[in-house]
């Protein structure tokens, strides 16, 4: 503490000296405080309008400044607060300046854009912002969570797996692959994956750049939008400010899926068997009981905790932000032992003024990641097994002379196992170390000309291991690798697999910013520069069989003993691969405004990449925008509207999701590639490997281009209490990669992909904010966001016939449910339409020919009217993407209490239920109880008769499995209490405690766990038993020292 005092006095002294050097006519002293909390604001800037003098407030929030005369205007600014102008009156001492906290976007803010910042009033592009205040409220595991519902125009679909990346799309789905936005952290290019490494406590703001005018400066990488993350840094002449945030919570599953209990199961199995002409399987139903609820067995209450410690401050020539964070989220499936995400962060952001003109910035973050995972997203995953496994089996194995802790089924003899056995035999670990950051030099050549050069890097080393033990699943199970007596099934081996990955990505950039004014009215902000980037990585892996003692403890390549033989070439295997990508770019932007009234911006980027075809190494992308601040016009006299800006932009950006093409020589045959373009030949019964041309190149291959136009407006009205931002965009993506139809006489070498597809999207982003203080005590701030986007594939192939299938699942047959196809939404659900059930044999006979149909079976719709139900009758049966999403954030503060509630809604998204295995003896979804049992019992196509022999294929892909996945989730409720400053002054400058519930309520008609199902475009909305998001109850502590 003594040291701190000494330090502070030094700072204070320094300030005083500085002040004296500017001594002028009139000395003004005062204090700057937070209007709401009454806290003294340390390090707030107090400047004289139109003059050079500026000071910072000291440790008590006090300042002293010389002004020319009475009537001079002071500009008081502080990060995160609204800037205030104060006209000096007769009082010159003891002035108390109260600053208001700024809401998410207020007019005085600056936003971080590409290669610079811009005052928000001057922005003529479309940008959404999430501030640290929101992140502090939400306490997200991953930073993107905070974008959900808070940043309009951004669709975030979260998954439940601890630490997993959500599906994020900004303004639509241009492609069937690669819709990921670009992520920029403190100016340095990273990826969505890297957001798992940033502690929310370190983030100052997240800006989402949406339209072409904002993203064009990122050129070929900006096509899917850009997420700009700015981390915190220290402030000059600020005393050390320490914060401690601590949060501890318990997670639980929100709901379970209704499956049959043991006696219901037994009765249905009997019925299914009898209807198919088989025997009664369970002769004595009364002996069955309720059995085991496997979902109860696999879902666990799981802990979650996060702790952060930060320090920020600075002296005259140096500022710092230091942070250490720890986060641990155990999974609700299987608990901490089998499923978890752990992260440790250490950050140092340091700024040095090397000379008065030269500034050096050093940001460094080290991250340690540690996770374990379980099999997910399939009928035989842990959750899939819990839903499909035989409920008549007891939890523990009671059969004498058999190994295995948990019970087994004598009916389910493959694929689906006791989920507890499955969990018990899941062994893996993934650890990784990441180091990222930047070195940056800023040189003020002239007053308004700044030259910046920086080197940003991300280094990641991952190390993972998994062990597949020998397992006994039951005496009759065909997947056994261990016999009932614990011996090994002949020909089976346990195995351990290792993989080490290593990536190193870096960007070197140099650019100059030059801002100037002409005639005091024409303001120019320009930037020009270049960038070099390289993404590179490699991975090596090895696996080996025969781990001693069949034990995780000895699961390592060094301990395993397998060696290859002619009959077993898999005993010891290894692989290695590497990749890289390099870009070079030059860019420039030119922003202009006339008296903050007429705005214009133009940006340009030329990108070169090593992955593009040789005829298309470089691309030029540009965009422009115009804005008009109507409210600045003299003729604009409205008491209601305080600020109104109208904006419009148009431009193009790109997407470099291509891989380099070249003519490869396939050697060592037979190597059957995707077109079985094999090589080698047999002479006299002996095979001789050959070599042949194995791939072709398309020299015309290039990037995708997005052409986007945007119109919108920003408005504040009713005493600045309301703010409204609305945007309408249209986006056309050209040059999507597809395999062209080519002449067959070219042979069988895979035809190289070409840029022949296109999509278009359009939509509305809307943010409405409201801030007010009721009765001088209750402060309310609330914001509503609204996001829509309509997407359509407008071209695929030269002949428009190419279709990309996805959404694969297995329910007895391998099925595909999503399609990327011309004329439809990307990834729409494709299958048969149903029209109730056949009630009588006559109905079957009268209907279009449907092979195998009997009364009680589903009647499918003859879409093409050819009188036969065939594959040609498949059609659109759903769309996994919402019609619109909404977010509603509400903050209420009253005295020392604060309350936050955040609600998110997604409307119109369909879900395809794909977790039902439909094997004869697998457990059934509860709806089967309402099945058809005779004419007139039901006509609901979801509930056909139940029989083992499904000749009609009631299980084919149809709208039977499509459900409305619309939902409203109360994502966050938080109630906090800040202890009065008087009570805690001696120990803390601020002490707040809070309780929080995440995913508190979910309102949905969807029958599964969670209507939010993330995945790539072609996997979104396919519920194969996906890991549900947890409900989390937590308590936390925020301390400022």
């Amino acid at each position: 503490m003594k040291l701190k005092l000494a330090f502070l006095s030094a700072v204070f002294l320094l300030c005083s000296i500085l002040n004296h050097s500017y001594a002028q006519n009139l000395q003004v002293t005062g204090t700057v405080k937070n209007k709401t909390t009454n806290e003294n604001l340390i390090g707030a800037t107090v400047a004289v309008k139109g003059g050079a003098a500026a000071v910072s407030t000291d440790a008590k929030g006090s300042f002293s400044i010389s002004v020319p005369s009475t009537g001079s205007v002071l500009i008081i600014s502080y990060s995160g607060m609204k800037t205030l102008e104060y006209a000096v009156g007769n009082t010159t001492t003891g002035i108390v300046i109260l600053l208001e906290e700024s809401a998410s976007t207020t007019l005085t803010d600056v936003v971080v854009i590409g290669y610079g910042t811009q005052k928000i009033t001057k922005v003529s592009g479309a940008i959404s912002t999430v501030k640290s205040a929101d992140l502090e409220k939400l306490k997200p595991v991953r930073a993107e969570e905070a974008l959900q519902g808070r940043a309009s125009g951004v669709t975030v679909i979260q998954g439940g797996t601890p630490g997993s990346a959500p599906t994020i799309t900004i303004r639509g789905l241009p492609s069937y692959s690669g819709n990921e936005p670009l992520v920029i952290v403190d100016g340095i290019q990273q990826s969505i994956t890297d957001l798992n490494s940033i502690s929310a406590a370190d983030i100052e703001s997240i800006n989402v750049l949406k339209d072409a005018s904002a993203t064009a400066i990122f050129g070929i990488k900006g096509g899917n939008g850009v997420i700009v993350v700015t981390t915190k840094s220290g402030r000059k002449n600020q005393k050390a400010e320490f914060t401690v945030n601590s949060n501890y919570g318990v997670q639980e599953v929100i709901n379970t899926i209704g499956v049959l209990n043991a006696s219901e199961y037994a009765a249905i199995i009997n019925e299914g068997s009898l209807l198919a002409g088989g025997n009664v399987i369970f002769p004595d139903l009364s002996a069955v009981g309720v059995g085991t609820d496997w979902q109860n067995e696999v879902f666990k209450k799981a802990s979650m905790q996060s702790h952060n410690l930060t320090a920020r401050g600075g002296g005259e020539r140096m500022t710092y932000f230091l942070s250490a964070g720890y986060l641990k989220q155990a999974g609700i499936v299987g608990g901490n032992d089998k499923s978890r995400f752990t992260r440790g962060n250490f950050t140092a952001n340091l700024n040095f003024d090397l000379t008065s003109k030269l500034k050096f910035i050093l940001n460094t973050t080290g991250v340690i990641l540690d996770s374990k995972g379980i099999q997910e997203n399939s009928f035989n995953s842990v959750i899939g097994s819990a839903l499909n496994f035989d409920p008549t089996v007891s939890k523990y194995n009671t059969v004498p002379n058999t190994v295995g802790q948990y019970g087994f089924s004598n009916l389910l003899l493959s694929e689906i196992f006791n989920p507890l056995t499955k969990l018990e035999n899941t062994y893996n670990k993934n650890v990784g170390n990441k180091l990222y950051g930047k070195f940056e030099l800023q040189y003020d050549i002239l007053k308004n000309l700044k030259f910046t050069t920086r080197f940003g890097y991300t280094k990641y080393d991952g190390n993972s291991k998994s062990f597949t033990p020998l397992v006994f699943y039951g005496p009759l199970n065909v997947d056994n690798s261990m016999n009932a007596d614990g011996s090994t099934v002949s020909g089976k081996h346990n195995s351990v697999s290792h993989e080490k990955t290593s990536n190193f990505n870096y960007t070197y950039e140099a650019f100059g910013n030059y801002n100037f004014k002409l005639k005091d009215r024409h303001n120019f902000e320009t930037v020009a520069g270049f960038s070099l980037a390289k993404v590179s990585g490699n991975a090596a892996g090895a696996s080996r069989q025969d781990v001693p003692f069949n034990s995780w403890e000895f699961a390592d390549l060094t301990a395993a003993t397998g060696s290859n033989s002619p009959t077993n070439t898999n005993a010891l295997t290894g692989y290695y691969y590497q990749y890289f990508k390099r870009n070079v770019s030059v860019f420039a932007r030119f922003n202009y405004d006339y008296q903050d009234k007429y705005l214009a911006s133009f940006s340009f980027r030329r990108d070169g990449s090593n992955v593009f075809g040789k005829n298309n190494k470089y691309v030029n992308l540009m965009a422009g925008s115009l804005g008009w601040v109507v409210s600045k016009e003299n003729f604009f006299k409205s008491d209601f509207i305080n600020f109104l800006k109208i904006r419009g932009s148009f431009g193009s950006t790109g997407n470099d999701n291509v891989t380099p093409q070249f003519v490869r020589i396939e050697t060592g045959g037979p190597s059957y590639g995707p077109t079985a373009n094999s090589n080698g030949y047999s002479f006299d019964g002996v095979f001789y490997p050959g070599s042949t041309v194995g791939s072709a190149s398309n020299d015309a291959l290039k990037w995708e281009i997005n052409k986007q136009s945007n119109v919108g407006f920003d408005m504040t009205f009713y005493k600045n209490k309301f703010s409204l931002t609305a945007d309408y965009f249209t986006k056309k993506t050209e040059g999507l990669l597809f395999t062209p139809s080519a002449s067959l006489y070219l042979g069988t070498v895979p035809i190289p992909v070409a840029n022949i597809g296109s999509t278009k999207s359009s939509g509305i982003d809307l943010t409405l904010g409201y801030n007010t203080t009721v009765a001088k005590k209750v402060k309310i701030s609330t914001a509503l966001t609204f996001t829509t986007s309509n997407n359509e594939v407008t071209a695929t192939n030269t002949d428009g016939t190419a279709r990309i299938l996805g959404g694969y699942y297995f329910n007895g047959q391998s099925q595909s449910v999503t399609v990327f196809e011309k004329g439809f939404t990307p990834g729409y659900f494709y299958g048969y339409k149903t029209d109730g059930l056949f009630q009588t044999a006559k109905e079957v006979a009268d209907a279009p020919t449907q092979t195998g149909a009997q009364p009680g079976d589903i009647r499918f719709v003859d879409m093409n009217g050819d009188g036969v139900i065939s594959a040609a009758d498949q059609t659109q049966i759903g769309d996994p993407f919402p019609d619109f999403t909404m977010g509603w954030n509400l903050n209420i503060e009253y005295k020392n209490f604060d309350f936050n509630a955040f609600t998110y809604a997604s409307v119109g998204n369909d879900i395809y239920r794909a977790y039902e295995r439909n094997a004869n003896y697998s457990n059934k979804y509860r709806a089967v109880l309402a099945r058809w049992t005779g004419p007139g019992t039901t006509n609901d196509a979801r509930n056909p008769r139940y029989t083992f022999s499904d000749v009609n294929s009631n299980i084919r892909v149809s709208d039977r499995y499509v459900e409305d996945g619309s939902f409203i989730k109360i994502k966050n409720i938080q109630l906090g209490y800040t202890f009065p400053a008087t009570a805690t002054k001696k120990l803390f400058s601020k002490l707040r405690i809070y309780v929080q519930v995440k995913n508190a309520f979910v309102f949905t008609d969807y029958s599964g766990y969670d209507p939010e199902i993330s995945g790539g475009v072609l996997d979104t909305g396919i519920d194969r038993g996906s890991y549900p998001q947890a409900r989390t109850y937590s308590i936390g502590l925020d301390i400022k020292l």
Binding site: A510, F530, L532, Q578, Y579, F580, R582, N583, V584, G608, S609, N610, V611, F612, K614, K617, Y618, P660, F662, V663, R664, I665, T667, G669, P670, Y672, A676, N677, S678, N679, G680, Y681, S682, F683, D684, G685, V686, F687, Y688, P689, G690, S691, T692, V693, A696, S697, D699, P740, S741, A742, S743, L744, Y745, L746, G747, T748, V749, P752, A754, T798
Partner: protein
């Protein structure tokens, strides 16, 4: 740092940048250790290894053998029902259209072979890097390559008539849709050139059995001449093969056993093996095994361990018409058609059970290529080792006989024809003594009896003008050739054959 220094440094930086940028975005597959065409064909071994893969697509022409019999009076498509093996059913019924996956697979496979041969031709003198790689035996190696290219074009011209003809290089995406069909005459001329070039350099004997020899090239050239009615040329080139090192195997049936592969009668065989198991159901004909063998098999066949046959899919069933064509005493009947019921009754110890062919049953099976036990591996349906006996000495004799007969040398024609018959009957009692047209017809008939189920009958009937008379459903003026695959009409803009 003085301002001058900064300026100099800045300038330097710019220069370095400008020069290094081009390199920075250059794509070089070597950086990821990919072997590209730039790295290849730099040694003898590269040339030899790549030549092996010019052979590969002849394996993929697998279905040309069953198709040429199914399309004729020799066999029927069979299968499980009318909607099984639809491409073959349509060919059997002469309802085939341009959308026929078997026909388009063979079209594409033949062109892959041509592209592979062209690629080596393209870099024969100098490789892509501009160096010439010379080695002993290089010309002979190119003899194999030119033979194979001729074989692929012969396949195309027989099946489709006029086809795109290109000989200079492997085509790429840029050439897609740029070619038109060349006339049959032009294609035949190219085939003759290739074969003559091959004959000039190929050895008479190859160390590795299955490689193309000079005789194989001469035999194929003789056949190509016959298809163009160039009988004088045919007689002269075939005579050389007749006088070559080949002999007729006394036991006709033994030719088609594993032990009979690459035997004394073998002039050219398409080689298959079971030593490199293949599993890809997406391209059943693209492995090292012979898929058509599985197709021929008897459904649900079971029996004792010493019963030699394995089960299959009852496709390509020999017709009763074929069986009836054999005279009494002709050993080729039993070696060509297996009457399963008779076989079962004759061998009660085998305890044979089987499923009667459920569709188009003839009671007969393709004995020449019937699946046998222990002759496959991996995915058993795809890996039968049976070679196709593509050109046998017996056929050379029959071709020579035909050529002599058509050039009025009936003595030689009868001699060669009767050599084949004497082997078939094991005596001289069945010799043919006719001349002129009668002899011509006898030779044509003999081709059927000798070569049935070996993939020639349909083309023989077309070539000899007998198709309309012998094949039910055959429309003259249309069915002489198969349709160009619809994809090639749509994408490449080729003209279609008349009637399709």
């Amino acid at each position: 740092m003085s301002k001058l220094n900064i300026k100099i440094l800045g300038l330097l930086l710019l220069v370095i940048l400008a020069t290094s940028c081009e390199k920075w975005v250059k794509s070089d597959p070597r950086e990821t250790f990919q072997i590209t065409e730039l790295d290849y064909l730099r040694s003898e071994s590269d040339y030899r290894t790549m030549a092996i893969s010019v052979y590969t697509p002849i394996q993929w022409l697998n279905q040309s053998v069953p198709v040429a019999d199914i399309a004729s009076d020799n066999s029927v498509s069979g299968g499980e029902n009318a909607s099984d093996v639809i491409p073959l059913q349509q060919i059997d019924d002469f309802t085939h259209t341009a959308n026929n996956s078997t026909l388009s697979e063979m079209w594409q496979a033949a062109y892959e072979g041509i592209n592979r041969a062209n690629y080596l031709h393209q870099y024969k003198v100098k490789n892509l890097a501009g160096d010439s790689v010379e080695f002993a035996g290089k010309n002979a190696l190119y003899g194999e390559i030119y033979f194979l290219r001729a074989y692929y074009y012969f396949h195309l011209v027989r099946y489709y008539g006029d086809v795109p003809l290109f000989l200079d290089k492997r085509l790429g995406l840029a050439e897609s849709g740029t070619l038109q069909r060349s006339s049959k005459a032009e294609v035949y001329a190219a085939i003759e050139t290739d074969l003559n070039n091959a004959i000039a350099v190929l050895p008479a004997v190859q160390v590795q059995k299955g490689r193309v020899t000079k005789y194989a090239a001469q035999a194929l050239l003789g056949k190509v001449y016959l298809y163009q009615d160039k009988f004088t040329e045919a007689a002269s080139v075939l005579e050389e093969v007749v006088n070559g090192p080949f002999s007729l195997v006394s036991d006709f049936g033994s030719i088609f056993l594993q032990a009979g592969e690459n035997g004394p009668e073998s002039v050219f065989e398409i080689q298959y093996s079971n030593t490199s198991p293949y599993y890809n159901w997406g391209g059943v004909n693209r492995g090292q095994g012979n898929h058509s063998v599985q197709q021929c098999g008897i459904r649900g066949l079971n029996g004792s361990a010493d019963m030699p046959y394995a089960a299959g899919w009852s496709t390509n069933l020999p017709s009763q018409n074929l069986a009836a064509a054999y005279e009494a005493g002709d050993t080729r009947k039993a070696a060509t058609t297996l009457d399963i019921e008779a076989y079962k009754n004759a061998n009660p110890s085998y305890n044979i059970t089987y499923q009667v062919a459920p569709y188009k049953n003839t009671g007969l099976y393709n004995q020449k290529y019937l699946p046998r036990k222990n002759q496959t591996s991996g995915q058993v349906e795809l890996n039968y080792l049976n070679n196709f006996r593509t050109i046998r000495y017996a056929e050379v004799l029959l071709m020579a006989a035909e050529a002599y007969n058509r050039t009025s040398n009936d003595v030689k024609a009868r001699d060669y024809l009767n050599r084949v018959r004497q082997r078939a009957f094991g005596d001289n009692l069945h010799n043919i003594n006719s001349s002129g047209d009668a002899l011509k017809l006898a030779i044509w008939d003999e081709r059927r009896l000798e070569l049935a189920m070996e993939g020639d009958r349909f083309f023989d009937l077309v070539r000899t003008g007998q198709a309309a008379a012998k094949i039910t459903g055959f429309v003259p003026g249309k069915h002489e050739v198969f349709p160009i695959p619809q994809h090639e009409i749509d994408v490449s803009g080729l003209s279609q054959n008349p009637g399709y």
